[in-house]
């Protein structure tokens, strides 16, 4: 009975997620059937931007993963690298930054007036770097996703038993052999999941693509959806484009074999395995250089943000009640979203483990695959579509403005589920493997089991997932804006508002506050997870 309940909880979570996206689409479809224009089909323009969407997302994914591989290996080989844990925390930050802040940070380094250009001019080279175009898009997407990929690959490497490293050392495996026989199989199990996640994040890119893309040649489907819904108010087209985006993403993931393959291990924050191989000096040096490069690549644009933020008038900014209210609102909404997100992720994780355990060594069942992938697909449904759909559905029954906080929480929670899922899964699966039989024997089940057995072992991982989900929600901008309620002002909302009325320094200051909040949350998450691993 409790087993069935666990399976049900995952299905319920999936239903909730698909209701959030599907309900919105249904709402829009009904509106179209109600007579607001009709869909006229895709023109060559749509196919052109669809091609570009997939091209940029594939390239971004490929580059992020390829560059993350050696970086994660170097970080894994050097558990004692100075500042390593700070580097890893920093690597959680880019995803939490609003796109506009990140884009300005990137241009402050690589732009025409950036640090790189200044350095080149100092060295007597007067060729101005031109990142606008595919280069800029890829640069920004690598900035967002290289750190994510690195953390996820590092977590895969951490699942390699210490004994393997002892064996490798004793057998005298060379560097390439170690990679081929020990590291690659561990990474390969998780690579489809990692690449799929990054691909979906890149497919929906909007601000980055337009701002750094250099012109309308660089247009993604997300832009067209926004245009259709926001500017042209062509609901039919928006729905059709959203479905196209979903279908293309699924098709590509399936084609690459990324869909439906269960992700083996997830993201842990523990990142020190004792390595018994003694790398050669040259290898160590190469690793150090790699880590330093990766650190600089991620840290420089963030430093650019910090530097421009530091020039803000904090004396005034921190005495504005509206700023404090925005901070409080962000924290409240972020916490609520994170709570819901962790709850959904927990339901998915436990249900997936239950299905996987039940099948034993047989092939993964469809439900398991759906539980694995389904949660992530929400990333490909544009928030503006979810927002508009629910607005239409709800307007006859409630005041849509009163829905704003609920929608913001729901959408942010949904968008953070794929990440919370990856934090919780390894912890849950380990706990399950250890406790399932014992609990079955002793007849501990259901709520009692969660309270007595799972909760004590999981609480720190739950805390880590909560902090990560909250950091992600803090940076969200999209959802708030579409429900158009200026009584719910979050920090990124305030930031964009100041930016929109010439108050650039204020905006930079707010970005800094936002960054510090996220960094603080990641340090909490780290500490929680560190304790969790120490307790294992």
């Amino acid at each position: 009975m409790p087993f069935r309940a666990r399976q049900l909880s995952g299905i319920l979570a999936l239903v909730l997620l698909s209701l959030l996206a599907g309900g919105a689409l249904m709402g829009l479809v009904f509106e179209v059937l109600g007579g607001v224009g009709g869909f006229t089909g895709f023109d060559s323009y749509i196919w052109r931007i669809a091609r570009f969407t997939l091209l940029q997302a594939s390239l971004s994914t490929l580059l992020s993963v390829i560059l993350a591989l050696p970086l994660a290996r170097a970080l894994h080989a050097r558990p004692d690298f100075p500042g390593r844990s700070m580097i890893l925390r920093l690597f959680a930050l880019p995803l939490a930054l609003p796109a506009l802040v990140a884009v300005l940070g990137i241009t402050s380094i690589y732009g025409r007036n950036g640090l790189l250009a200044a350095g080149m001019a100092y060295l007597g080279m007067h060729q101005i770097p031109d990142i606008y175009g595919l280069t800029g898009i890829l640069l920004a997407h690598i900035f967002f996703n290289l750190p994510l990929a690195t953390r996820l690959i590092l977590a895969s490497l951490d699942t390699i038993p210490e004994d393997y490293w002892k064996l490798a050392a004793q057998l005298g495996m060379s560097e390439p052999t170690r990679f081929r026989l020990i590291e690659w199989p561990a990474i390969l199990r998780n690579l489809p999941g990692i690449a799929g996640l990054i691909f979906m994040l890149c497919v929906t890119s909007f601000t980055v693509v337009l701002t750094l893309g250099g012109g309308p040649r660089a247009t993604t489907l997300e832009v067209a959806i926004y245009q259709a819904l926001h500017f042209d108010f062509d609901i039919a087209r928006a729905v059709a484009l959203t479905l196209l985006q979903l279908a293309l993403t699924l098709a590509i993931l399936a084609f690459l074999g990324l869909a439906g393959r269960p992700t083996e291990e997830g993201q842990t924050f523990r990142t020190t395995t004792r390595r018994f191989d003694d790398p050669e000096r040259a290898t160590r040096l190469f690793g150090s250089v790699l880590i330093a490069c990766g650190f600089l690549f991620v840290a420089a644009p963030i430093a650019g943000t910090v530097v421009s933020g530091a020039s803000a008038d904090f004396g005034r900014l921190l005495f504005e009640p509206v700023v404090w209210r925005a901070i409080m609102t962000s924290i409240c909404l972020g916490a609520a979203a994170a709570f819901l997100s962790v709850l959904l992720a927990l339901a998915l994780v436990s249900s997936r483990e239950h299905v996987a355990t039940a099948r034993g060594y047989g092939p993964a069942r469809p439900l398991e695959r759906v539980l694995d992938l389904g949660a992530s697909l929400i990333l490909v449904v544009p928030p503006i579509v979810i927002g508009a759909g629910w607005f239409i559905l709800s307007r006859h029954y409630v005041d849509p403005f009163s829905l704003a906080p609920v929608m913001v929480v729901a959408v942010n929670a949904a968008m953070a589920v794929p990440f919370a899922f990856r934090v919780l899964r390894p912890a849950w699966d380990t706990m399950a493997a250890r406790n399932n039989r014992l609990c079955a024997q002793l007849g501990i089940a259901g709520w009692t089991r969660f309270r007595l057995i799972d909760w004590p072992g999981l609480k720190r991982s739950l805390g880590a997932a909560f902090a990560f989900a909250m950091a992600l929600s803090l940076g969200d901008l999209g959802t708030i804006a579409l429900f158009g309620n200026d009584t719910v002002q979050t920090l990124p909302y305030l930031l964009l508002q100041r930016m929109g009325s010439y108050r650039t320094a204020d905006a930079a200051g707010l970005a800094l506050i936002l960054g510090i909040l996220c960094m603080g949350l990641m340090m909490l998450a780290d500490r929680a997870q560190g304790d969790a691993d120490a307790g294992r």
């Binding site: 004994d163 050392a169 004793q170 057998l171 005298g172 495996m173 052999t177 081929r180």
Partner: protein, 250 residues
């Protein structure tokens, strides 16, 4: 890298820890022992007494803070694990889960798995020697616990190291299976003349292989001698106390 090992004659090599110190947390360890070539030594002691650390120091996974480590009359204190003439078998994870039995054994011959036909013959005969002929293509998940340890032993055979270290290698096997494995070790020792050092928490393992016994307590060797003598009623009181408390635990 094989050179350092090749200059040791086939057969057993003596192992000597000469006043080796090592610090683990707040515990200071000091080991001073000699195991003659082709001998079998059993190391017992309470958990946390430094048994595995001792093996790790021999294998080179831990570096001595002071003192010297000798294998076959050669000072290996500063050598990395791959250049020490030892093979080690752990309790778990001796096999790579994604490689079949043949490849896992083959790794002992060539760590990059580029096996010549001579290598392949050696691997096949080692697999036959440990009684696993016909299971070459199996993955570790399709083997029993005892069979997995046999694969690990086959690998040490193709490595041809004069010293074999067993780190509670049979701890998770049942008594009958454990005895079977110990007998196999005995046979292999008789055939190759290799030196065997094993960490165990079953004193009767030491009796079965008529070995030297070293009793460890808090990071140093508290007592040592032939197993029959040490484990007899006339053995050191220290050891009797440990054995008594262990029995009452069981």
């Amino acid at each position: 890298m094989q050179d350092d090992r090749a200059d040791i004659a086939k057969g057993g090599a003596s192992v000597r820890l000469d006043n080796v110190t090592f610090r683990y947390g707040s515990m200071e360890m000091l080991f001073d022992l000699t195991v003659e070539g082709s001998a079998i030594a059993a190391i017992i002691g309470p958990s946390g007494s430094g048994k595995s650390t001792l093996l790790n120091l021999v294998a080179g996974f831990e570096k001595a803070e002071s003192g010297r480590v000798w294998i076959g009359g050669k000072d290996v204190t500063l050598l990395p694990p791959s250049r020490r003439a030892v093979s080690m078998v752990f309790q778990d994870n001796n096999l790579f889960a994604h490689l079949d039995v043949f490849s896992n054994v083959g790794l002992g011959r060539r760590p990059d798995l580029k096996l010549s036909s001579a290598d392949e013959d050696a691997v096949s005969s080692a697999i036959a020697k440990v009684g696993l002929a016909g299971k070459e293509k199996r993955r570790p998940e399709a083997l029993s616990g005892g069979e997995r340890q046999r694969v690990a032993l086959a690998r040490t055979l193709v490595r041809n190291s004069p010293v074999l270290l067993l780190d509670e290698a049979f701890a998770s096997l049942g008594p009958a299976l454990r005895h079977e494995m110990l007998d196999l070790i005995g046979d292999l020792r008789d055939e190759t003349g290799m030196t065997v050092i094993m960490v165990t928490h079953h004193p009767d393992d030491a009796l079965r292989l008529s070995s030297m016994l070293f009793f460890l307590e808090e990071g140093h060797i508290a007592a040592s001698g032939p197993a029959e003598q040490m484990l007899s009623p006339d053995g050191p009181p220290l050891l009797r106390k440990y054995l008594g408390s262990q029995e009452s635990e069981v």
